[in-house]
């Protein structure tokens, strides 16, 4: 027998689990095939998994394959099992494949995924608990259990999608998941990547069709966001919190300089990876560390946590020396010049550093040498002769980054001297095949030189102990955990910490006078020295592990140095250093479909973003919206235009502007009296719930996901206004006018809440809204976990004006050409920014009417069984109208099917 499986095909799970049970009974070969390979000769469409039987016949259904394995082991078919399998095929699978597609391919979360599946999960739970059996078809695990477990595992292994209240389902699932054949199947198929392991496969599959009841096909209504059901208690609590209003805000923390840890408070120390000084950072660098850390720092301050956020430029090393040679300056001058450039860029992006320092300082030398001395006296430093590449032409030893050659592991042609960009393995420069000096392209020779090594193997045990204490319950991102785990698995090796250079921290040891520390040994010490330059009490931050919560932000390539090398140095130095508690690593951001490349002029770099005419907050918003959280993402000009115009302009901007405008136009700028109806109270509770969700996400540093919560609240707001039509009611009876007042008052308070939630993401826009609404200072600086009334009846707001501007296609197209690669051809004309008034209620009403009318036209045509083309044309019109309406209302636009972007 031969089993054909495919990477990431969900059907492999039950099949492998069933095969695992029957393994001893049957000779089974397993072959992996591509998802597009047609294994079964008689089927037109590819299908996996497939079992080819010894008779030559094929089984192409996962359930049938499982059944076959069970039959081989002597199992007898029974009605109950058949019933479960039929239910699995007809009810569970359609819902499940829709859910998986939604989660894995479309990246939706939460209720979008779980909603359609809930009924099926409840059905299993109910059956299990009613029959009072641990398994689906009796007291022992059987075919039905394996088939259903295998189908559900990819989703339910994430506890988010295993509802707590379904207790029987819970224990059934756990029991099966721990059984050896299941566990092994899960490991083989998901490879510890969770549901994302299915992605490459599912992406190639057509979108599963749900079978809508007749007539639904016409309606393309953007789905109402599924609202969670609220208990009376939750609603009552939300109302109480709301009514307490400004009184529930604690006093603002007085600003401190310098910020120092305070005993008994939450002290948050935040660092973002130190950018290397000789490069201008690109958007990927910005989102990877400084911008992500900035959002968290701002959030942390809004929570009134005692926060210090620091960063600086990493300035030592060969790259600086070379750059200095190129530009005819001294290394110091180069550092001064580029440090300024960096500082300016971050200033433009509104990064809220408490201090932005540099590594070329006396403190750096002092602290690095101290740590080194401690390591030396404790026996963690080794000495050895190193074979090193020397370029005779340039008359110097070549730093790793200045050698290029063929990777000894994977054969990649452009591997660097320290690491291969393709396979990610660390390389010893002399192992490179066909090495070349990057400066003069001549072939370097191997020379020997004395060097110092950090004895990592000797520190490994301490490191593991520390990780064992730190990792559980911390917010280390999965990629960081994975990288550290794989380093430890391969075993640590001594790492060279010195270099034959001049531009660096001197090595305080006899015989090493002409050498300096290798940058990766002392760069991470930069955080300490930058703090030392900020305050002479720096040790209160850095030698205070019990009181300080250290968050370090970086792109994933920096994880080994922060999660492994520096902790080893610090643990070996035995000086009670504060070590990273939460290591937050992003994946990579690509540019359009490729990589950012300074040399090819592809991509947007920090200094150019300013010249686009697009405000810093829009850049911040879009970069955070696509933050490579959990997986790589790509910057796309078109997407930026869409997100700006739909999410910012039509959703958020439209809501906040309308809320403010109603107060000024209908109530003379004074917040009206609010008499909350049960519906309003329910809305309060929903917003509180979403706000709590936002907090939960940001506490876990899930920055991108938390931004969605803001947009969801604003969508709720838009719908609320739309349904209640205050612009009509204001002209009506007394009761109507009162209702208009309540709706307006509640809406403008939602706008105020949004301005605070937005602060970490778009500080300037947030400040603008707060100025327009004249939000009290205290309410601007603190974000509670409950939605409170911060603009009470009688509060006077300021002048309201539109917040966002539309991005035009032409403008974006010319920017794309300008930054797309090659030399800049297009004249850098400043972007034309057209102020657009957001869609008014009348406009929306008009569109709604038209949608209804067009809907009737389509229905009539269909009823008359009219010509297909005619119907299609009318449907197209209808869809277009709906799109306009969605845009005008600020709802998300449904992307047309079949036009997915890779």
């Amino acid at each position: 027998m031969r089993l054909f499986v495919c990477e990431g095909a969900p059907g492999s799970l039950p099949v492998l689990a069933a095969a695992g049970r029957a393994r001893d009974r049957a000779e089974l070969l397993i072959s992996t095939v591509g998802s597009e390979e047609c294994v079964v000769p008689f089927l037109t469409r590819p299908k996996v998994p497939v079992l080819q039987l010894d008779s030559g016949n094929y089984l192409f259904s996962s359930s049938a394959i499982c059944r076959y394995f069970f039959l081989l082991s002597g199992w007898e078919q029974d009605d109950l099992t058949n019933q479960w399998l039929e239910w699995e095929a007809t009810e569970l699978q359609p819902a499940l494949s829709a859910a998986l597609y939604c989660l894995v391919v479309q990246g939706k979360k939460g209720e979008h995924v779980l909603g359609p599946l809930r009924r099926a999960l409840t059905h299993i739970d109910y059956s299990l608990s009613r029959q009072n059996c641990p398994f689906l078809a009796g007291d022992t695990e059987s075919l039905a259990d394996i088939v259903l477990w295998g189908a559900l595992y990819p989703l339910l292994q994430d506890p988010t999608y295993l509802p707590e209240e379904l207790g029987a389902l819970h224990s059934w699932f756990q029991t099966l998941s721990t059984q050896e054949p299941c566990r092994r199947a899960a490991e083989t198929v998901l490879k510890q990547q969770g549901v994302l392991a299915l992605r490459p496969y599912l992406q190639k599959q057509p979108q599963p069709q749900s079978h809508p009841p007749e007539g639904r096909a016409v309606s393309n209504e953007p789905e109402e966001e599924e609202l969670a059901t609220l208990s009376e208690e939750e609603i009552a609590m939300a109302v109480t919190a709301w009514e307490k209003g400004l009184g529930s805000l604690p006093p603002l923390r007085p600003p401190q300089n310098p910020v120092l840890p305070v005993a008994g408070e939450r002290n948050v120390l935040i660092t973002s990876a130190l950018p290397y000084v000789n490069n201008v950072p690109h958007l990927g660098n910005i989102i990877g560390c400084v911008l992500s850390a900035d959002v968290f720092a701002r959030y942390s301050r809004l929570r009134q946590w005692n926060t210090l956020y620091l960063c600086g430029t990493d300035e030592y090393g060969t790259a600086t020396e070379t750059k200095a040679m190129e530009e005819g300056l001294t290394p110091q001058e180069i550092c001064d010049k580029y440090h300024r450039i960096h500082a300016d860029i971050y200033c433009w992006f509104n990064i809220s550093f408490d201090t932005f320092g540099r590594t070329t300082t006396a403190q750096q030398t002092k602290i690095t040498q101290d740590i080194f001395q401690r390591l030396l006296t404790r026996g963690f430093v080794l000495q050895d002769t190193v074979e090193q590449l020397r370029c005779e032409q340039c008359a110097r030893f070549l730093a790793d980054r200045f050698v290029e050659g063929v990777c000894p592991f994977c054969g990649y042609e452009e591997a660097r001297g320290d690491q291969c960009d393709k396979c990610g393995k660390l390389i010893n420069a002399i192992e490179l095949k066909k090495p070349q000096c990057k400066v003069c392209r001549s072939c370097p020779v191997v020379k020997s030189s004395q060097h110092l090594f950090l004895d990592l193997p000797k520190l490994e045990k301490r490191l593991e102990e520390w990780l064992g204490k730190t990792l559980p319950g911390s917010d280390w991102t999965p990629n960081a955990r994975f990288i550290i785990r794989s380093w430890l698995r391969d075993g640590l090796k001594p790492r060279c910490i010195t270099r034959d250079l001049k531009w660096g921290t001197p090595v305080p040891l006899e015989g090493f006078e002409d050498k300096v520390f290798y940058v990766w040994f002392d760069a991470t010490i930069g955080y300490l020295s930058i703090t030392a330059n900020y305050t002479d009490q720096w040790e209160r931050w850095w030698k205070n592990p019990d009181q300080v919560d250290l968050y370090q932000f970086m792109a994933k390539d920096n994880v080994p140095f922060h999660g492994l090398v520096f902790p080893c140095s610090a643990l070996g130095a035995e000086d009670n250093y504060t070590l990273v508690r939460h290591l937050i690593a992003t994946e990579y951001l690509n540019y359009e479909d490729g990589k950012f490349s300074k040399s090819r002029g592809v991509g947007v770099f920090g200094d150019m973003a300013q010249d686009t005419g697009i405000p810093a907050d829009i850049w911040r918003f879009y970069l955070l919206y696509i933050r490579p959280e959990g997986q790589d993402s790509a910057f796309s000009w078109t997407d930026m235009l869409i997100k700006n115009n739909s999410e910012l302009l039509n959703n958020l901007g439209n809501f906040i502007n309308r809320a403010g405008m109603f107060v000024s136009k209908f109530f003379g700028g004074c917040v009206p009296k609010m008499v909350l109806t049960p519906d309003d109270q329910r809305l309060l509770a929903h917003i509180s719930l979403e706000l709590q969700h936002y907090h939960q996400l940001l506490e876990k540093v899930r920055i991108r996901d938390a931004l969605r919560s803001i947009l969801t609240i604003s969508r709720h707001g838009n719908q609320y206004i739309q349904v209640n039509e205050p612009w009509k009611r204001i002209k009506g009876s007394e009761a109507d006018r009162q209702r208009a007042g309540t709706v307006t008052g509640l809406a403008v308070n939602i706008a105020a809440l949004l301005s605070v939630m937005l602060q970490p993401y778009m500080p300037t826009v947030s400040a603008t809204i707060q100025a327009q609404l004249q939000l009290p200072l205290q309410a601007c600086g603190i974000l509670l976990t409950n939605f409170i009334c911060t603009l009470p009846t009688g509060h006077h707001i300021g002048t309201v004006s539109p917040l966002f501007q539309k991005l035009e296609n032409d403008q974006i197209e010319s920017l794309r050409q300008r930054f797309g690669g090659g030399q800049a051809k297009v004249s850098p004309k400043p972007a034309v920014v057209e102020t657009v008034t957001t869609a008014g209620p009348q406009h929306i009403q008009m569109l709604m009417d038209e949608v209804t009318k067009q809907g009737n036209v389509v229905r009539e045509l269909k009823a008359q069984k009219a010509d297909k083309n005619q119907v299609a044309a009318e449907v197209a019109k209808l869809l277009d109208l709906k799109k306009q309406l969605a845009l005008a209302e600020g709802k998300p636009i449904e992307t047309p099917k079949g036009k997915k972007k890779k």
């Binding site: 037109t44 089984l59 076959y68 081989l72 078919q77 019933q83 039929e86 095929a89 007809t90 009841p213």
Partner: protein, 177 residues
């Protein structure tokens, strides 16, 4: 054909005298078999399998492990693939696959007539008969490329599993083949 009608027809063909009670459930009108002893059974193929056992004709479910798995596979195919499609454009690829599957076989499970043949025959009936009616004989209906499936069709009819159609059609089909 509604699922309950189909099950009644099956009962008749299997020679089950006393009829069972059926009801339909949910959006897809899934058939439910009410039994006096024990819990009810839900689902077309589940009930059909149950009926075969009731009639003591287990051979219709296959005799070897391989046959049994193959039969259940095609039953699943019937309810997920054939029933999932409603237009003749959608059904054509299925017929094509079935045709090449049958290339070296007499019945779906090889040389033995099984429940899979019966239920697939029922499921495809509306498509094949319609097709046939419209084009006045399958000689114009992709004739030779679809030969195998038609041969299979004829064999099933020979097993005299009645479907409520006019005899003339079946006869015509038979002769043309």
């Amino acid at each position: 054909m509604a699922a309950t009608a189909e099950l009644r027809l099956l009962e008749k063909s299997l020679g089950l005298r006393k009829g069972n009670k059926y009801s339909a459930q949910g959006e897809r009108q899934t058939p439910v078999l009410q039994t006096n002893n024990g819990p009810s059974l839900t689902g077309l193929t589940t009930i059909a399998t149950h009926l075969v056992k009731q009639a003591n004709k287990e051979y219709l479910l296959g005799s070897t492990a391989e046959e049994k798995a193959v039969v259940q596979q095609w039953l699943e195919y019937r309810i997920t693939q054939v029933d999932g499609h409603s237009s003749k454009e959608e059904i054509h690829p299925l017929l094509k696959d079935l045709n090449s599957y049958l290339e070296d076989k007499v019945y779906l499970a090889g040389y033995n007539f099984t429940l899979a043949d019966i239920l697939l025959y029922y499921g495809l009936h509306r498509f094949i008969e319609n097709e046939f009616l419209k084009t006045r004989g399958f000689s114009t209906w992709d004739s030779f490329r679809r030969r195998k499936i038609l041969l299979w069709w004829i064999f099933i009819i020979k097993h005299s599993f009645p479907v409520e159609t006019t005899p003339s059609q079946n006869t015509l089909l038979f002769y043309t083949c």
